[in-house]
């Protein structure tokens, strides 16, 4: 009996497509992604693209829209995860790279190169 039930459960695991509703609820299909699931609407794909560009141990700062603290919090956390081993700093003036997420350009930094990552997300190489 143990073997039969285990095989049935394993078959469910391997089966493609959609499961019946009760199993779908257990499996939480809406969360079935390799990405972090933040509270705010965040374009994690754009951040993954930025992560591929950032050199290891480069310093970066993140700028988020000032009126959305949840987005700022989630953006900070997801960037921290995906951008390692690049290193976060608080002040854009101390960073080698700047990630602007649907936010205006901060004063007192000079951009050398711009990478448009879509959805208003921009990665900029700053002048040292």
């Amino acid at each position: 009996m143990v073997v039969a039930v285990s095989l049935a459960a394993l078959a469910l695991l391997a089966a493609p497509g959609r499961f019946p509703r009760p199993i779908r609820q257990i499996a939480q299909h809406s969360l079935n992604t390799r990405d972090p699931v933040p509270t705010a609407q965040l374009d994690v794909g754009a951040l993954r693209r930025a992560a591929r560009i950032l050199p290891a141990r480069a310093t970066y700062a993140v700028v988020a829209p000032p009126n959305d603290p949840q987005l700022a919090h989630d953006l900070q956390g997801v960037a921290h995860l995906l951008f390692l081993p690049a290193l976060p700093v608080a002040e854009p003036s101390r960073a080698e790279w700047l990630l602007r997420y649907q936010a205006a350009h901060p004063a007192a930094v000079k951009v050398v190169r711009t990478y448009r990552l879509g959805n208003g997300v921009v990665l900029e190489r700053l002048q040292p």
Binding site: V5, L12, R34, P36, A56
Partner: protein, 475 residues
């Protein structure tokens, strides 16, 4: 969406941990049948994970980057050490640390056999479904991608860099810098093995730990509880909605609860029976518990105190053994504690505040809401099903029927865990409503699971017909 890389990562990591665990168990298990060895798979995986994690925590503090190479070397060395010990130690020593029994009790009636088989199959099915759901879910708790996993990635790529792991450095530090490194290290290695930073591996790894806990509990209890009682009780625990929700959450609280619950189980078995095997397991499980979260240490002490009081009649040797084991578990965390001390890193929750009567007296309005929220988490059937009510009810029935206070020990454990978290929320300075809404559901995990493994004992001793026949004894 492909799960091949997830499956490969899970198999590689847990296969390595299993190999380490079995090597370390080779001394006590040497000479047992293959089936007996297989029955220890849950114990072996948790022993391997605890030991590898604890060693890697020490190496991180010593300045090494905890990448896959270091993990591989440590795993190979531990396997070699375990196997060498199994062959080098004299038979008399091996016998002293061997489990008293690797057999299982058999059902006395056909109905008992049917009940045990059905419940056992259901537990296996629930375990498989739990793992299946873990494979299909990214962690829901933002702490996982906010600091637990980033810390692990950083430890692998940069090491314990003071710029990231201490406040006031050159970079923006992580949150919760006071937390130990064990869970971050395990998650960091898991994520690296996926090759593409697939976060579903977090839930998979937590699911594996939970399934291993159920398998370990089944193994440790199978020779002590009749199967018609054991398997339905394990089913009661495994179907708790909160267990499944929190596997998908990916947080460290459940991993901590797994190890604390098994520490309590093995500590209780040591006090009751005096087997060195169970004491050694209690040390290994306790060592992981104090290195997963900061609150693991006080809970370990409190649960050990409850065990010690409940077993006050057992004699000095076993009491000293228990507290010696607790001391060893704490000693394993010394490198990180010394590092924290050296860099002036304090707990997020101030112990000075929490122990200051005048501070506490000024904020008594926090007690009632904390007690209400935590109590609700403990007894609400939508969270932990009927586990805690069963512990309380069975304890009272047993105490009344047998006129022995020992029956109330599991209930006391629940009471102590409950009181501890009320006190922790009372002495905390964070907004209480926010604190309770975001953490009350998971901080009670250790209390619930630690008490849960008492349910099979309570039911077994309350039902008539003990002792039952012993079958499949080997070794």
């Amino acid at each position: 969406m492909s799960y091949r890389h997830l499956l490969a990562a899970a198999v590689l990591l847990n296969g390595s941990l299993l190999a380490v665990g079995y090597a370390l168990l080779a001394t006590p298990l040497r000479g047992r049948s293959p089936l007996a060895w297989i029955s220890y798979c849950g114990v072996a995986l948790l022993v391997g994970a605890s030991t590898v994690g604890v060693v890697l925590c020490g190496l991180a503090v010593a300045g090494l980057r905890i990448d896959l190479t270091v993990f591989g070397v440590v795993a190979v060395l531990l396997v070699a050490l375990g196997v060498a010990a199994a062959f080098a130690l004299p038979p008399a020593t091996r016998d002293r640390v061997a489990p008293a029994s690797s057999g299982r009790l058999s059902s006395a009636t056909p109905l008992g056999s049917v009940v045990a088989a059905a419940a056992g199959a259901a537990v296996v099915a629930v375990g498989v479904l739990l793992l299946a759901s873990a494979f299909r879910s990214s962690p829901t708790l933002d702490d996982v991608w906010g600091f637990w996993l980033p810390k692990g990635i950083a430890l692998g790529r940069l090491g314990l860099d003071p710029g990231l792991f201490l406040p006031g450095g050159a970079y923006q530090p992580f949150d919760h810098l006071d937390y130990p490194l064990w869970w971050s290290i395990v998650l960091g290695l898991s994520a690296r093995l996926t090759g593409s930073l697939d976060l579903r591996i977090v839930d998979v790894e937590l699911g594996v730990l939970v399934v291993a806990m159920l398998a370990a509990a089944a193994r440790l209890l199978a020779s002590r509880i009749r199967p018609a009682v054991l398997w339905p009780c394990l089913l009661l625990i495994s179907v708790s909605p909160e267990l499944h929700r929190q596997v998908l959450g990916g947080g460290a609280d459940l991993a901590l609860a797994v190890y604390l619950a098994l520490f309590v189980l093995c500590g209780a078995l040591w006090l009751a029976e005096g087997g060195l095997f169970e004491l050694a397991l209690a040390v290994v499980f306790g060592a992981a518990a104090v290195q997963i979260k900061t609150e693991g240490a006080p809970q370990l002490l409190l649960f050990a105190a409850v065990l010690s009081l409940a077993g006050w009649k057992v004699g000095r040797r076993r009491q000293l053994g228990l507290w010696g084991g607790v001391a060893l578990a704490f000693a394993s965390a010394l490198p990180f504690l010394a590092w924290r001390q050296e860099h002036g890193l304090r707990n997020d929750i101030s112990l000075r505040h929490a122990l200051d009567p005048s501070f506490l007296a000024g904020r008594t309005e926090r007690v009632a809401p904390a007690a209400r929220a935590l109590g609700h988490q403990l007894v609400n059937p939508h969270d932990w099903f009927l586990v805690v009510p069963a512990v309380l009810l069975l304890g009272v029935i047993g105490a009344l029927r047998h006129r022995r206070m020992l029956w109330l020990a599991p209930a006391a454990l629940v009471g102590v865990g409950y009181a501890f978290w009320i006190w922790a929320n009372w002495g905390d300075t964070m907004n209480l409503r926010f604190r309770l809404e975001t953490s009350a559901y998971r901080i009670v995990d250790a209390t619930v699971l630690a008490a849960a493994f008492a349910v099979p004992f309570l039911v077994d001793r309350l039902l008539p017909g003990r002792p039952v026949t012993r079958g499949a004894e080997d070794g």
